[in-house]
Amino acid sequence: MKLRTYLQGTALALVAALPAYAQDSTVTVVLSEELDILDPCESSRSNVGRVVLQNITETMTELDPDEGLMPRLATEWEDMGDGTWRFHLREGVKFHDGSALDAEDVAHTLVRIKSEDIVCEIGAKFFGGIDLTTEVVDDTTIDITADPAQPILPLLMSTVTITPAEAPLDGHMEEPMGTGPYVFDEYRRGQDITLSSNPDYWGETPEVTGATYVFRTDSAVRAAMVQTGEADIAPNIALQDATNPDTDFSYSNSETVYTRLDTTMAPLDDVRVRQALNHAVDREAFIGTILADGTELATGMTPPSTIGYNKDLQPYAYDPDKAKALIEEAKADGVPVDTEITVVGRINNFANVLETMEALTSMWREVGFNVDLQMVEVAEWLEHYSKPFPEDRGPEMVQAMHDNANGDPVFSMYFKYASEGLQSGVQDPKLDDMIAEATAATGDERAEDWSEVFSYIHEQAFDVMLFHMVGFSRVNERLDFTPSIKTNSELQLEQISFN
């Protein structure tokens, strides 16, 4: 086995491969899964988003991780009260078919994402239970009303990809079309997708003149392709394949790993038991071993860049003795601490999930919990994770990974913690009120309210919060591109330039 030697020898191969591509101003991106669908209204899925979002179709607003909410197709917006917001559209923007972008297109898009005959992911994910009505004021001005009122409607609009008024309401678009800097050329199914630059783009002309997307499931192959020069960017490779500091970047990827506790079931209904579960976990031991260096300990469901994230909270310290003491205390009060608790893990959820779950399970056993690990594939996992929960279940802890790159906890909190939330294991009227209050608040008050929510959840140990994850990308040295927290859900070609 001289693999190591082979790998070292590859630096040469890389250098040799470079000149052949250096003149080329198109890039090849190697994605981890084939796209089953290319409709822009599905672009909240990370695999679709990486191709479509802001490349082919654009959104009204755009969230910048550092700068906050920025204009894109809308130049400005104002709150008209009663849940209505007025958006002013950029002038002179054209769709790829040559027609001009106007307010009608926006209105149509909002109808389309909620269409019962498509069931788009954007509609289902961000606008579930929200009624949207629009009023076209003039060609470039539109009023959007949400019921119930959404104080963060402009932020929500950063998820909606604007498609022309001709887009069908009863089915998916055959070919994605929008206003973006790149035009969709061809999808040779199973092989590749090609885009080329849009000569009529309203913004600056990007350096990259075209892109090809290919699909490889295996991380080692994706890494090898960038190494040999067959591809330029592999947005997502595994920790163990990120071996070359010159080409491999780590970035916080907005995913948070945690274990959801079913707090309605004994013994998980006892706060001491939940705290003991938290104290039993040696979180530091995972980092730099089975999880990448740079992984952060989490104290809340959303990435630290989200508004209201409570930076004062400290992760539960690794303290097996304290955990044992808490268990004893609970036991003395008659809490059935010996009940078998099932730990449900999701197979292939992230790299090394199996190792992570095995290690967690043995840590819990170490302090005396009677836990049993079950790793299941996604369909079965969902039955445990989402309501309605199985009738005949025992106490369960479900491992999950949650992604919120949208900057506001509202995309997470109701679902994960409210009594009626689909994935919530909590039944706590006080928390329900807190979440409702924060959801309706604006400005600084909003940040403060969310901060309190984070702190209450942490105190009550409603779950075993674990890690904010990092991802790895390999980027060919001929490109000037640094992956960021958004690389998980989009890959804007116009941000790439050549060295």
Binding site: Q240, D241, E358, M375
Partner: protein
Amino acid sequence: MVERSPAPAATRTKEGPGALRTALSLLWADKLACAAVIFLVIVTLCAIFGPMFLEEITSKPNLRGRNAPPFDLSKGWMFILGGDQLGRPLLARIIVAAQNTMVVAAGAVVASMIIGSALGLIAGYSRGRAGQIIPRLADVIMSFPSLLLAVIVLYMLEPAVGNLVIVLAITRIPIYLRTTRAEVLEIRERMFVQAARVMGASTKRIVFRHILPVVLPTLTTIATLDFAFVMLAESSLSFLGIGIQPPEITWGLMVSQGRPYLTSAWWLCFWPGLAIILTTLSLNLLSNWLRVVLDPQQRWRLEMGGKKNA
């Protein structure tokens, strides 16, 4: 055709204490087969006793000592093959995993071989309806993707060892069924079978005394190779998330868990992979040896002391 009946050899081995000695000396004559038997005995012992003694060490992760390289004795001899992705000694894991691996592989291979060859004998020998219907059954099983079967069985039942054996056994039935049938189709037309029939031998006697012995060598060849196939199939099921799941371990699961580390810590999937290869190799050498021993026309090679290879 001179009947290549195994009867003489079989009776000879039944002759009492001398028989064992004869068998051992015949085995000694073929050094490779000898090594194979020793290896298989070790694997069997590991499978029976391993979990009893080593369960404890293999379930304690030590994250800070993960992927320890092999041939380093500073952590104790259990780490001679290195540590796995959770810092557990690979050698101990391989020994403990032998049990599940052997149960799954042997269970699936034996079950599919018995069922498959029985159906194949019927299908090949019968000139009636069974001869038409049974091969179509094989067609259906062959076209039913094993993965779908695995998802169905393991989704509705638990991903336990027993259910895995069922899934793998069903998917392997067609190969024995079809091979047996093909051979029987030809054998039943041979002179000695026709002669036996004319002399009034019962169907049962013809099938078991005359036809089965001729088919058996081919079936054994396939079965020994199938051992590897089943272990690897189990590995890919685990990889796809529908096979055996930790804390249970098998060699196949270890191979699939070590896969992401192929380029950074090769030993994770190399050793369990080697265990699979060596087991298959040993079984095959053993079956080749048996074939020679049971064949009066070839047995002389071994009786000559294996010095000459004609």
